[in-house]
Symmetry: C2
Subunit: 454 residues, 2 copies
């Protein structure tokens, strides 16, 4: 037993210099869409460099996809393509497979089959992990295989490695992320070009940043799934992503971006995990972020993550959060990690979805959290309106930091926007006050409430 | 031989669940200064968390330092302290030692002894790696041990892991780094508080950001050592750090920061590695960086690194580049990596200072590089001055983008600053033109030339 120790402590595995060391590591891609094509491109075109990092050549031997004829932007030898997953499952020489199908099924069944047939898995599928993480990771553990998923959050930004490996000396205190590039692109369009929400969505679709049905991106679900993965990694919190309170950018009006700018803020869809004395607070929502702070300067389809650790302080990561090649970059790094054996060690060390260490984390009651708020009401322009609204806020112990009401903005029906920025107030009191204000006869739907971060 | 393969491909080493798995991993700290105290603090106070990540408890068993009585900001059991390195060298149960002595000797001899006695080494010592990397890494390879050095560049920013692991699918195209927190603190003081250079240095010393002799920090040497390490990692370029052209911030006048601001720029000490068709360009120098770009917004003692890869695009990292706890965060992450076995794999995969793959990289002749320049001349305020200077620039095919000459700034002796921003010009032509201008009778020393990045 004693003899095993040095091998775990940093000696090179004895096989590393055996004649087999230069045998190619055979890999397969399942799902030949945009990301799959990018991964194939890197594997086929950068062989020498990858082989140097992996200690032996990496050979792409199969690409599985039901559609074998659609043109892709990479030239692939015809014999690599197959529509039959069994070809991969039955090839014992394939050591790792990349799942790039996306969505829940058949991705879930395929990953389970890959693991059961002895393949290590690399995936970019955050929905699959957020929904079926436990089942998949249990399956991998049962079969002594690893799942690597750097590409599932933050695209090309190595945030999984950062939180899962590089920052492990820290108690993570908070994570603030712009995790959905589509939403950020749309908000940037609205802010910089004063585009209406629907026009900005159309532009995002035209440029390929948004799908035909962008619901999961714009309603905060995609960001919540990614936040669930990061929260599990950083805090051991095994959270159902659907339990994370979330508001999407579909609630943001172009006028809110204008008022926010006037107050010195941008609006970003922030995914937030914050450790408080009474638990972990998780939420996704459009949030006012002060100009000049790094998160406020994240534009277009970029993602960014700000992590605060008790030792390291504030660390900030910024890069392309989606797209063919950035995502492929993360997938191929995971493949190399898998081949050299780092992925197996990390998979074991993290023990994700294993039930380990979860007892310590309780989710905080959102009503107990406190913050500053941006409020916008549509009010009938008549005497005493501001006084009554301010009165209700005051009754709930919410004090006002600033007010915007422009004379010029009266609409045809005499309805004007009234914007209020509050000082710090508990979420619970805020919700009650908003409900009371919304019952006032001169307040028209829909009132807007957004958190503010300084 | 075949049987070894699955073990390398992701199976758990069979020892992982043996009764020995929970044996503590014993480690030692060599050098009980600021960083050493920080590492001891994390190891002693966060045992549970670290043990979870390392798969078994991490036990700090020795701290070696000649000074056993000086008070530190951490309470350490007296029996851990020793001034005798032999105690560590002769303890076969110590699996990893952290070198935090700094400087070249005795750090070099001690690391060689640690490796020879079978310890894996973690170090934060960029000077040691830049100067003696080959000897130390060869020694580690000879003894089948690893050297981990995340803390040597960028403090708490996981830039070594990012370039060495997470971005390995990419051909790195460029690295732009603010790698010296002391210089950045001083430049920020000068820019924001209009402090003269010497006053800003004194303030940095008062706050502990600069040493009594800050030469290595402010003259660009520290940044050049870090750049040499990053360039080796990203490009396989084994460069003598002393061969990297470097200019320090001691050449920057507070007026340059003012003029730069007027033109829309900040001045940062940038360490740059850039791959061109005719080789790799490396240099460290104060550089004008356009307001609104992420590097321009890096203030105080922070570091930042912008990496461009052919697949991932632009990735940006920002965090505290020095200081007790951020550096300790990186050191302890390396310790965990060493204990779980990732460091051994990474050490082997990187093959640093092994002579592998270096043939491909040639350093580019700096005279061949081209860029925009900021120039400041001290000129006698007389007719025809600008015409003559512009004429010389024109003769060298350097065209002028903007000029600043303020009437109000004439000094007692009739000498005024003349600031010129050029369009893109070759460095060689720029040097010749500057020499010709400096020979003009009405130009007083010392003319200033800085690169501009857009």
């Amino acid at each position: 037993m004693r003899a095993a120790k040095p091998a775990r402590m940093g000696r090179f595995p004895s096989g590393a210099r055996s004649p087999h060391a230069m045998n190619a590591a055979k890999v397969a891609i399942i799902g030949f869409g945009t990301i799959g094509s990018g991964v194939a491109k890197i594997l086929l075109e950068s062989g020498n460099r990858l082989g140097r990092h992996a200690g032996r050549p990496i050979e792409l031997v199969r690409i599985v996809d039901p559609d074998l004829v659609r043109p892709r932007n990479v030239a692939v030898p015809r014999e690599l393509l197959t529509s039959d997953l069994e070809v991969v499952l039955n090839d014992p020489e394939i050591v790792a497979a990349v799942e790039l199908i996306g969505g829940l099924e058949p991705a879930r069944s395929i990953v389970l089959k890959l693991l059961a047939s002895g393949k290590n898995v690399v995936t970019a599928n955050k929905a699959l992990l957020a929904e079926h993480g436990r089942e998949l990771f249990d399956c991998a553990r049962r079969h002594g295989r690893s799942i690597a998923f750097e590409a599932s959050v933050g695209g090309g930004i190595p945030i999984i490695a950062a939180i899962g490996q590089s920052l492990t000396a820290n108690q993570v205190l908070s994570i603030h992320g712009i995790l959905n590039g589509t939403s950020n692109f749309i908000l940037t369009q609205m802010e910089e070009h004063h585009a209406e929400y629907s026009a900005a969505v159309a532009e995002a679709q035209r440029l390929g940043y948004a799908e035909a049905n962008p619901a999961m991106d714009v309603n905060g679900s995609d960001a919540a799934q990614k936040l669930a993965i990061l929260a599990h990694l950083a805090f051991g919190a095994q959270v159902d992503w659907k339990a994370i309170p979330r508001v999407g950018i579909d609630t943001v009006d172009v006028s809110d971006l204008r008022y926010a700018k006037e107050l010195g803020y941008s609006i970003k869809l922030l995914a937030i995990a914050e450790l408080a004395s009474d638990g972990l607070e998780l939420h996704v929502s459009p949030t006012l972020v002060r100009h000049g702070t790094p998160l406020a300067e994240v534009r277009g389809a970029y993602n960014a993550i700000r992590v605060v650790g008790d030792a390291v302080g504030r660390v900030f990561f910024h890069g392309l959060g989606a797209g063919q090649m950035p995502t492929a970059s993360a997938v191929v790094a995971d493949l190399i990690d898998t081949i050299v054996g780092r992925a197996a060690i990390t998979f074991r060390a993290l023990g994700l979805w294993s039930g380990r260490g979860e007892a310590a984390v309780t989710l905080r009651d959102p009503a107990k959290s406190a913050g500053r708020y941006y409020l916008r009401f549509n009010v009938q322009d008549s005497p005493g309106v501001l006084a009554q609204i301010a009165g209700i806020l005051g009754k709930h112990a919410i004090s006002i930091a600033s007010v915007i009401q422009h004379e010029t903005e009266e609409e045809a029906d005499g309805v004007v926007p009234l914007v209020i920025m509050t000082h710090k107030a508990p979420e619970g009191a805020m919700i009650q006050a908003m409900a009371a204000i919304d019952r006032l006869p001169f307040v028209h739907p829909t009132s807007v409430r957004m958190r503010v971060r300084d």
